[in-house]
Symmetry: C2
Subunit: 183 residues, 2 copies
């Protein structure tokens, strides 16, 4: 069963925003304070709510999935007290491309999965899709890592942002968060 996940910024939640940086396009008002991530369908008031669904994979081959799943770790590790929420929107030109054209840019030219693999298992990751929901962001990418791996995470997003795929990114906001180890 497909479930919509809500990232709710406001006064309550286990995560605290430490820094919000606009990488491309319009800034995102309200992406600060506490963050709660809820999986039920109820819409409750919040300063800012971003929605997405964990859907099927769009580009990865079976060989890539096998490689990634052999190494990746789950969200919620006790030591992973740092997180990043990176909402991303791609251009109309990207979405008008055929499947083989998008795949070629994503992996053969930009090595998106291969790059991600190099940062496993330290960086745990989950992708949510918002475009078909009519959300302002096509993707919400959520990452968790230990404080000592923040530099590694910066390398990962730097490598992706330097790739040909990122020429199609029209809006990107990089929201860093912390939670207390006792949470």
């Amino acid at each position: 069963m497909i479930r919509t996940v809500q990232f709710r910024f406001g006064s309550a939640g286990p995560w605290s925003t430490t820094r919000t940086t606009t990488i491309a396009g319009a800034p995102l008002d309200g992406a600060n304070g506490a963050l709660d991530i809820v999986e039920d369908g109820a819409t409750r008031p919040a300063a800012l709510t971003l929605r997405g669904v964990a859907s099927n994979v769009r580009y990865a081959t079976r060989a890539e999935l096998t490689q990634l799943r052999a190494v990746q770790e789950d969200l919620g590790r006790p030591a992973a007290t740092c997180a990043a929420l990176i909402p991303i929107t791609k251009s109309a030109e990207w979405w008008a491309l055929s499947q083989d054209e998008r795949r070629a840019i994503f992996e053969e030219q930009s090595h998106h999965n291969a790059t991600g693999l190099r940062y496993l298992p330290q960086i745990a990751r989950k992708l949510y899709h918002g475009r078909d929901l009519g959300e302002p962001f096509d993707f919400l990418t959520w990452f968790e890592f230990a404080p000592e791996h923040e530099g590694l995470f910066d390398d990962l997003v730097g490598a992706l942002r330097a790739s040909p795929e990122w020429a199609f990114v029209t809006r990107e906001v990089d929201i860093r968060l912390r939670r207390s180890p006792s949470d």
Copy 2:
């Protein structure tokens, strides 16, 4: 801008249901009477509302898109007074496949695009995605054709239903409709 389309069965609308056949899975209550297709976001009462979004292509290559677009015709042709709405759901097994596995079943094994191409331009077609919206059907496929091409349309759906891809279809309802030529 992504827009959700609503297929609303009830008392008013340009299309009239002539026959509803359950092909696989549970029957669909309320798929009869008049049908209205609305593109705005308002939710109004109806006996049955099915929702979907016209999203980016998921499998077609550039070569296939070029072939299809050179021949296909738009919806709304005056002579196309027959239509079919075929809501489809695929299994969890299908959605757990990798992109290359789904593509191979869709085209290399089942010739989905190649089969559709053989029935152009007589059959006009549009696909809406419902899975990420949490709808009961993963896809809503809408077809329009002239009355003299109903046999051709039956051949098309017959060919698809006999393909390996259809082993993954867990629910399918075939709703046939007519409108008056003056509409």
